[in-house]
Symmetry: C2
Subunit: 934 residues, 2 copies
């Protein structure tokens, strides 16, 4: 009986989906160029292949019958009632439900069989035929144009349409959540006041208020069609979902006979197809005022909308969850940069305001104190007065003041807050986008098949570690080599700095001499920047190459490995020079009389007398600004424009030949002309590296968040413009979160705590000052601090030839240098003094306290802020209750139904069954009529 | 048409579930005392209420018709074909499907209406009546015994049975996953060799090999009965699942008319019922050799099985996922303690082996070096020779040697490894237990209703922060007070130690004097232990009380808050004295001539000359061992036994009256006699505190893992025994993970890193030795280390009255004390010396390096070990593919079915519809026959 019931049940379900198969009226035209030639069936996906020129003449010769051929092939089980003109073409055979796949294939083979082509082309054509036959078998409908006579060498488009039963089947299979009729009132949490204040920042999106009332959603199931709010079968699944469904079919459709592979990606990799993409909702050029596309264009992808919130729901509806999440994340990040920027500006102005009252910089500028410093280079350099470094001391104070410590703690907590806020936002979004409870639909297409399937057969068998070993070996050694490259680049710049400053110091021109530091630093940083930009591009390519060597199993796996490698390389590249300045510069310079030399000639560089922090600050700001300006904006805007220009020029050359073609370009032609979508990795990477600038060394450059904010406001609109107008529409990919990027962000947040602790305690003068004030100062004030930080050096201890050759300062016995060492007259002269160890202990203690305090505070912040917002929690609760209600109501109805049908005649004799059966059959046989009537 | 289809669909589904409603044969008796009196319907749940004695006489008078009455009330829609003897009783009305709930209630009311009782009892009875009527309406079947004549004051049992349709409905609703017919071969990952070696450790469980072949499982749905492997409707859902389903119904059944509450928990809180529990599978006393219970009893809950793996799958099947996870976790923890113990023992023996060659302890024991130490107390104490402390120095070396540093790093990584391993195990389990994809079924019964519903009505309205404020205020202040209590207890013990040692030092008896340290330390630790044990019990109660004050919303919420509070308090309690010894003892003692005094009289205590580590070690080992021995074993074994004894004595008194009752006690009587299940919190808490001993201070006591291991081996069997034989069967609760405990564990793991870093660098002598060897030692060896650590003190600088009154050591000018201070002849005498700062810097640097290194290694370990085991990953992939196959096959079958029915006559004239319809109606009308024929 199970089987019987099952059969009946299947029947019913089939009826349920069949019922809506019939041609639906859908009076409004959906949009020019978005449909099959019958004007009703939406084009859900387009496959493109490029016809070669050399076969053009021959095929032209053989099939010059009609100029404009269309072949519509469908596997639907309803007779074609429309498009008789379309069906009139030679290839326009529309196959009924009875046609077996064999026949379909035969037909296809016959259609293309007349064109004699070269073997490779022929093979491609055979593969295409089999693949498309399998697509037909999967239920898709296909339209091809056969404008063979004119455009034999141009792109050829195969358009796919998924009819309702296929959509239903796949939606059930993919567990796509759809809204049901049951409303679950989504109480707006905002007060009216707030909403009014917020109004100017909201994008103008139609039906926005309407979307406040959320519908209870449920995984699509053909058993439960009565639950859903199906107003039109054409629009129940939006275009993004349709595209996704078709992509899913394309992904898993096999091609066994001709090429032993699975899925469209392999086909593209093999060159069977040129590309495959869903269509944009409406052409940008036509600007038909319908569809989401235009709203996005007007309210999102414009620089003039920079102050507005993003219409994230629309973005998600149009581009899918994955891209929606990227923009939502970018939005949250940018929004949270606002408070960080404000605090950064305040801290900076605190520095500006207190520079006059800062005792150490006053003391440094005070010429009466007259500290004679030891020379900065051997021989040619003279002794100098500390007061000449007054400028850098004052500049230092702008960034190196007590407020910076506060700012570092603030920014560490800010990073945690940002991540927590994003988690909440993500959960809110996944709630309102009905992503709760979905499992990541991992793409288990073996990645190796896609990339290597056509090269080797061996790979298809399981790879042992022996096969993988060379790959891993190359991998590790390449990464180490890249690291070495980065380090040597940094070292090269150091050498440049040392030699140039030595050479400039030797020059007789006093003008040159006075500008040594500025010139050298500026040029060195610019060289650094250029090196970074060049290596960045190289590293991107290297990471890709290395990841391909590893032959990861799945696409997700591939992506994660690629991201990790690219991140490691790019991170090293961007931050190596900054790390050098922050933690190594000046630490290995030695002391007067015992300097450290590189290449036996050049002394290691020291920091400016004002401290290394100011140099770190310069380095950081130039690299950050330069990278953002050049890489993010010029590269991102300029290069696509250039590419477009090149393409336009090329097209112009070939356009002359087909100028007679008077038809306006179809949507698929327009979309094909756009650049393909290449994934979100570069976009995320750019932002993550920026996040590093904002968080890692923020203690030395409080204005970093401000610059990041300015960049991002532009970046959002730039990316939006790119997605809307410059790229082909990507397949709507479902994603629950931003994946590995979250881990990288959180890792960077943690790393930033320790880096900031070290910057404050070792790079800045904060700790020595504190120690002086509370342990060594006689008065308890900062007076005498500069004197305290300078050690004494007996000039007679200079190594031969390193003493200044001709000093203007007359007879000097003792010069000073910045370090904590015993004076020459102490028993252990030039050894580290007690102060040194004391300051060192204080610095280390500060690192421990800072790190653990911030980590603890972060934990508290993360714990106090619940991951799920309260409103969402309540809403979930309400929805759960509603679901229970719906379920129980349905149960009750079912029960009553049974009662009304059975209970009354349970006591009847067996013959009564017939009566009941016929009664039922009446109501049942009614259905087919209804179905066909619709 | 949607509606029509829907109706038909519902009909079919109902048929599907009705089909199996009919009386099933089920020939084997399921077990004595586990069924209704008809011997077929399983008792799935038992509700108990206690009848009061005072109403016994009256009710006896009114209803003394029959001695053994049974009332079976059911709402099933089939006529009763069995149990006519049971139905013969007065109250044994079995209601057909047509009986409205009103009637049921009337019947119930009538049945009990004759018994005049006091108002409170009467109200309870009315509530019970309404509640049980609602249970009937929900589809449950109820059996009550009415042995009114004899046992009017004893417990009265209401037994519940869930019939198949109810089970189906609820299983669908609760999304219970059940195995389908599709096998997904579970390839065993173990090699044969390994399995053979492992054999003796495997528990003997029937069908174990069989369970290797895992069946694809799927959420239960009545639409898909044909997919499942239903051999018998009675056993398809096992007893644990049945209990869970009935509990779910009990939980959500309302009781509106008489008491405005929801669920059985409220009923129990109100005293309407005494308790409610599902039955154990088989009585322990009867020992019928069927059922899981006995296997558990034989292969799990026995001390002699201590060396075996636990039969976790059986535990889970019997007790549900939550308890299964607890035992699995305990198993993983115990298993991983084995390597930790081994390494700990090796480290300990390394200490033993190297004690003879250790230069510092040699130097300390060397009497020829003759260090005269400053006196340990004022006045009465004399100078002493360092060589007298030789014993502690040697003992110290056992725990304070370089291997300890390695061990600390090892254990920190071990903790990470343990958590990672557990994560993997959890994922494996949740895969093989089919928990993937389930959402936590949060119990949204407002907790406040359960506990307070009967007290105040006000609480039911939404609580504002004003209502909650006093609760929070009491909360925070109580916790602070408890913290204060703990600290004062610790401080009290310190005072005890100081005073007693001072008094003993003053005693003239030399015997007493020499034993001062040992006696004082030992007694103090024992006092500490007793205080800890007492406060632990108090804190448990306080945490419960405080959490109730907070009125949390859900039960999960309640549990989490309770756990957090209890953990905080108990953790503080257990570790406060240890923290004191590790980090504070001896740090505030001052220096000779400038000691710190408490109460103006007593000098703060110092550490033993061998270092504080040995004291920490003693403290730790005694508290750990004592706590485990006394609390875990004596309390856990002794107190239940005692309670049982008390109950047995009580029962004996009342048993005399009913000795005439000759029937053997039913299963529900036996189970009712057991103690109720009170949650897993105490079990987890005990283990977590132990985990703290193993991880937090492991640097000072490498044998901790060994003691923990010994304890846990017993603990597992002890807990198992308790669950199997001493507690009522808990409701099988579904749980995906161990919840907040994982966070606590991981938090402790992180905390342990910093604690161990500080113990090694500050409590042990590891860093000073390193610094001496590499910075100050002339020879590069450890010779002279002891001399280096001792500062000089000029005896003339003693404050008046604090110098030794009568010294045996003759004329002493300079004594030594353990500190890094300038000697008396230096310009800044008794200030911290350069060495001090140097060592301090080294200590701090070590903390930073250790902490960050271990954190980094932990991250690497966590990253390298994938959360999901590879086999599971592959299995999941395979299952996904199988699911796709099943889905596609079903689709195809459906399609063919439709084709065979429709396609052939599509071309017929419209009249053909009738033909088709009648054909279909034929196949359809066939069903009722089939159904009733079964």
């Amino acid at each position: 009986t199970d089987t019987l019931l099952y059969i009946l049940h299947s029947l019913l379900i089939s009826l349920g989906s069949l019922q809506v198969v019939g041609p639906t009226p859908s009076p409004q035209s959906i949009g020019e160029g978005l449909c099959f030639s019958d004007g009703r069936r939406k084009v859900d996906y387009v496959l493109v292949f490029q016809r070669r020129r050399h076969s053009s003449i021959r095929s032209h010769a053989s099939t010059s019958v009609s100029h404009d051929r269309l072949s519509i092939v469908s596997n639907g089980n309803f007779p074609p009632s429309v498009g008789s003109d379309a069906a009139a073409g030679r290839g326009g055979a529309i196959l009924g439900g009875e046609a077996s796949v064999g026949e379909v294939f035969m037909e296809l083979g016959g259609a293309g069989g007349n064109e004699p082509t070269d073997p490779a082309d022929n093979e491609m054509r055979l593969i295409r035929q089999e693949f498309e036959a399998n697509l037909l078998e999967a239920g898709l409908e296909i339209e091809r144009d056969r404008e063979v006579s004119l455009k034999t060498h141009g792109p050829s488009f195969t358009r796919l349409h998924a009819p309702w039963p296929v959509l239903c089947r796949e939606a059930e299979f993919l567990k796509i959540k759809v809204p049901t009729k049951t409303e679950s009132g989504f109480g707006s949490a905002m007060s009216t006041m707030w909403r009014k204040m917020n109004q100017p920042f909201q994008p103008k999106v139609p039906h926005q208020d309407h979307e406040r009332t959320k519908f209870l959603s449920h995984c699509f199931s053909r058993d439960k069609l009565h639950l859903y709010n199906i107003t039109s079968k054409d629009t129940f699944f939006d275009n993004a979902t349709r595209g996704r469904i078709v992509y899913e079919i394309l992904r898993r459709t096999v091609c066994v006979r001709t090429c032993q592979t699975i899925g469209i990606s392999t086909m593209i990799a093999k060159g069977v197809y040129d590309s495959a993409f869903p269509l944009h909702d409406v052409s940008v050029r036509f600007r038909i005022p319908t569809g989401r596309h235009l709203v996005l264009h007007e309210e999102w992808a414009r620089y003039s909308a920079f102050y507005k919130y993003q219409p994230i729901d629309l973005v998600r509806k149009y581009f899918g969850e994955k891209i929606g999440l990227y923009f939502a994340w970018l939005g949250v990040y940018t929004q949270l940069l606002i408070p960080a920027s404000i605090v950064g500006i305040i801290v900076f102005f605190f520095g500006v305001a207190t520079v006059e009252t800062d005792i150490p910089s006053q003391e440094m500028c005070n010429e009466s104190l007259n500290f004679t410093m030891c020379p900065l280079c051997d021989g040619v350099c003279d002794f100098w007065h500390l007061s000449t470094a007054c400028g850098t001391a004052r500049a230092s104070h702008l960034f190196d003041n007590p407020a910076t410590v506060f700012f570092a703690i603030f920014m560490s907590l800010w990073a945690v807050l940002f991540l927590e806020h994003w988690k909440r936002r993500q959960i809110s979004l996944s709630f309102s986008w009905d992503l709760t409870g979905i499992e990541e639909d991992e793409v288990y297409t073996a990645y190796k098949d896609i990339k290597f399937g056509h090269k080797e057969k061996k790979i298809e068998s399981k790879l042992t570690w022996k096969d993988r070993l060379p790959g891993y070996f190359i991998n590790i050694s390449s990464i180490l080599f890249m690291f070495g490259l980065t380090f040597s680049a940094v070292f090269g710049v150091i050498i440049y700095r040392i030699t140039v400053s030595a050479l400039m110091a030797m020059s007789p021109d006093p003008e040159t001499k006075s500008n040594v530091r500025v010139t050298v630093t500026a040029t060195a940083v610019i060289i650094n920047l250029v090196v970074i930009l060049i290596l960045d591009e190289i590293y991107g390519a290297v990471a890709l190459w290395l990841t391909e060597l590893e032959i990861p199993k799945t696409e997700t796996d591939f992506e994660e490995r690629l991201i990790l490698k690219a991140f490691l390389l790019k991170f090293m590249n961007a931050y190596a020079p900054i790390f050098y300045v922050a933690f190594f510069k000046g630490r290995f310079a030695g002391r007067p009389g015992n300097y450290v030399y590189v290449f036996n000639d050049y002394r290691m560089e020291e920091c400016a007398p004002g401290g290394c922090l100011i140099e770190l600050c310069i380095q950081l700001s130039i690299i950050m600004l330069g990278k953002q300006l050049i890489q993010n904006n010029i590269f991102e805007i300029g290069i696509p424009k250039l590419k477009k220009l090149v393409r336009a020029i090329k097209d112009k050359g070939s356009a002359e030949k087909k100028s007679e073609q008077e038809r306006p370009p179809q949507q698929w032609n327009l979309d094909y002309a756009l650049a393909p979508f290449e994934g979100l990795t570069p976009e995320y990477m750019e932002m993550i590296i920026q996040f590093g600038f904002v968080s890692l060394f923020v203690a030395s450059f409080p204005l970093a968040p401000l610059f990041a904010l300015l960049n991002n406001v532009i970046e959002i609109r730039l990316d939006a413009k790119k997605f809307v107008t410059e790229l082909r529409r990507p397949v709507a990919v479902r994603a629950k979160d931003i994946g590995i990027w979250y881990n990288i962000l959180s890792g960077m947040g943690k790393f930033s705590v320790i880096i900031n602790a070290f910057v404050i305690s070792f790079t800045s003068d904060f700790i020595p000052r504190l120690v002086y004030q509370y342990m060594f100062s006689q008065t308890g004030t900062m007076h005498g601090f500069i004197d305290h930080t300078l050690s004494y050096f007996n000039v007679s201890n200079f190594k031969p030839g390193t003493a200044p050759q001709n000093s203007e300062h007359g007879d000097i016995i003792v010069c000073r240098y910045k370090d904590y060492r015993e004076p020459p007259w102490s028993p252990d002269a030039y050894m580290f003094s007690k102060q040194y160890w004391c300051v060192l202990a204080a610095r280390l203690a500060f690192v421990i306290v800072f790190q653990n305090l911030v980590m603890f505070l972060s934990l508290v912040v993360a714990w106090v802020i619940p991951d799920t917002p309260k409103t969402i929690m309540e809403q979930l609760k309400r929805e759960k209750k509603l679901l229970v209600d719906v379920f129980l109501r349905e149960e009750k109805e079912k029960f009553q139904l049974i009662q009304s049908l059975f209970s009354k005649d349970t006591t009847l004799q067996p013959g009564g069954h017939h009566t009941r059966a016929s009664k039922k059959s009446k109501s049942f046989s009614f259905t087919p009529f209804t179905v066909s009537a619709l």
